[in-house]
């Protein structure tokens, strides 16, 4: 990991990778969503509404994977004082929050025709909403630290503490009786018929690559901004 401790070396890899991730992601998303819209059969109970799955599941996955990334970055910052860890954590937070919001919105739109309600305070829905609030709090905290100075470690500690919510989201449908159904995809297989399931991994991979491209782009932007600020400071002190 310390290979990337040097931002120049990180940038030399991140620059070409951004494009690859972005374009491959876009193609996979187009294929996955196109197949999900036009090629898969309807569900025996829900009919066409089941197609919301191809957006809802990747969004939920990225909302949770995003915070896992923040937790790993926070650990790297606290333990190894990795110079890019804070940058990475902040870069993940915004797209993570956006995908969590997409998950909640698409879930709400899905819930109305199937369950008969836009929103219910059951275990899964509530813990996912808490994740969105955690993202917003993390962004506010990291920005406040970046603007006013202070301990960058505060955001990292928050990032690690917030990770406690991830197992709660995952197990909410097992621990508590919820309106949300149990998990469909596990290590041992899936309760989704293969005819409906197959575009999902494609969309999942596509959205994940797009997420990676956004994170790399934001990290590069943050590093560039840091460089500009340092140069302006030097100019200011020379004049």
């Amino acid at each position: 990991m310390h290979v990337f401790a040097n931002p120049a070396r990180f940038l030399s890899i991140a620059r070409p990778l951004t494009g690859w991730f972005g374009w491959c992601g876009a193609v996979l998303i187009a294929v996955g969503l196109g197949a999900g819209l036009f090629l898969t059969p309807v569900d025996y109970l829900q009919g066409q509404t089941v197609r919301i799955m191809y957006v809802h599941v990747p969004a939920a996955w990225l909302g949770m994977a995003g915070w896992s990334g923040i937790a790993v970055a926070s650990l790297a910052e606290l333990v190894w004082r990795h110079p890019l860890a804070g940058v990475a954590g902040r870069a993940v937070a915004l797209p993570g929050a956006v995908f969590t919001a997409i998950c909640l919105a698409s879930g709400s739109i899905w819930g109305r025709p199937t369950w008969g309600t836009w929103w219910e305070w059951d275990g899964r829905l509530t813990s996912m909403l808490v994740l969105l609030f955690l993202y917003i709090a993390y962004i506010a905290l990291a920005d406040a630290v970046a603007e006013r100075g202070g301990q960058a470690r505060v955001a990292a500690i928050f990032g690690l503490v917030g990770a406690v919510n991830l197992p709660i989201i995952h197990f909410s449908v097992l621990w508590w009786r919820t309106l949300h159904q149990g998990q469909s995809i596990g290590f041992t297989g899936s309760t989704i018929d293969p005819a409906i399931l197959w575009p999902l991994p494609i969309a999942l991979a596509g959205f994940t690559l797009l997420f990676g491209a956004i994170v790399l782009m934001r990290m590069r932007a943050a590093l560039a901004r840091g460089k500009v600020e340092a140069r302006l400071r030097r100019l200011g002190s020379a004049a």
């Binding site: 059969p41 309807v42 569900d43 025996y44 109970l45 829900q46 089941v50 799955m53 650990l75 606290l78 333990v79 190894w80 025709p113 199937t114 369950w115 008969g116 309600t117 219910e120 305070w121 059951d122 275990g123 690690l160 503490v161 990770a163 406690v164 197992p167 709660i168 197990f171 621990w175 508590w176 009786r177 919820t178 309106l179 159904q181 149990g182 998990q183 469909s184 309760t191 989704i192 018929d193 005819a195 409906i196 399931l197």
Partner: protein, 144 residues
């Protein structure tokens, strides 16, 4: 011990303690955080008559009837062990049908007799095309 390793141990110990605390808290919440009572729970917990609760379970096969006024339905909610008679006046979600999950908000007006104000449909984690479902799910729907 190097400072780096010391920090690693400290952070991991703190995180472990935090996760353990959260898991303990969540398992203590088990009953309170549940979204609905099953018919069995409602009997066991002596839910008071008139108390607003959510009752969840399966709509018993063959129990769904529409009354003469055309908008009132009666059905039985079962959890396999116990079952409760329920009545509801109004429009139900499309997915509400016999043999499928339901969460009804309302209250008991007599032991074993429930009146619902709201009906939510609860579906399970299986998704399949109609051809696959085939005769497996020939449950009577309320739709004509």
């Amino acid at each position: 011990m190097k400072a780096k390793n010391q920090r690693l141990v400290l952070v991991l110990a703190a995180t472990g303690a935090l996760v353990a605390a959260a898991l303990l808290a969540m398992s203590a919440l088990k009953d309170q955080a549940s979204y609905f009572y099953t018919p069995g729970d409602a009997v066991r917990d002596h839910v008071a008559l008139g108390q607003q609760i959510r009752l969840g379970g399966m709509v018993e096969k063959g129990s769904l009837h529409r009354e003469a006024d055309g908008v009132t339905i009666s059905f039985r909610v079962t959890d396999g062990a116990a079952s409760v008679a329920a009545r509801y006046t109004g429009i139900v979600p499309d997915l509400f049908r016999e043999g499928s999950g339901v969460v009804a908000e309302g209250r008991f007006i007599a032991p074993g007799s429930f009146v619902a104000d709201t009906i939510l449909a609860k579906h399970d984690e299986r998704y399949m095309p109609p051809q696959v479902a085939g005769s497996m799910h020939e449950a009577k729907s309320l739709k004509p």
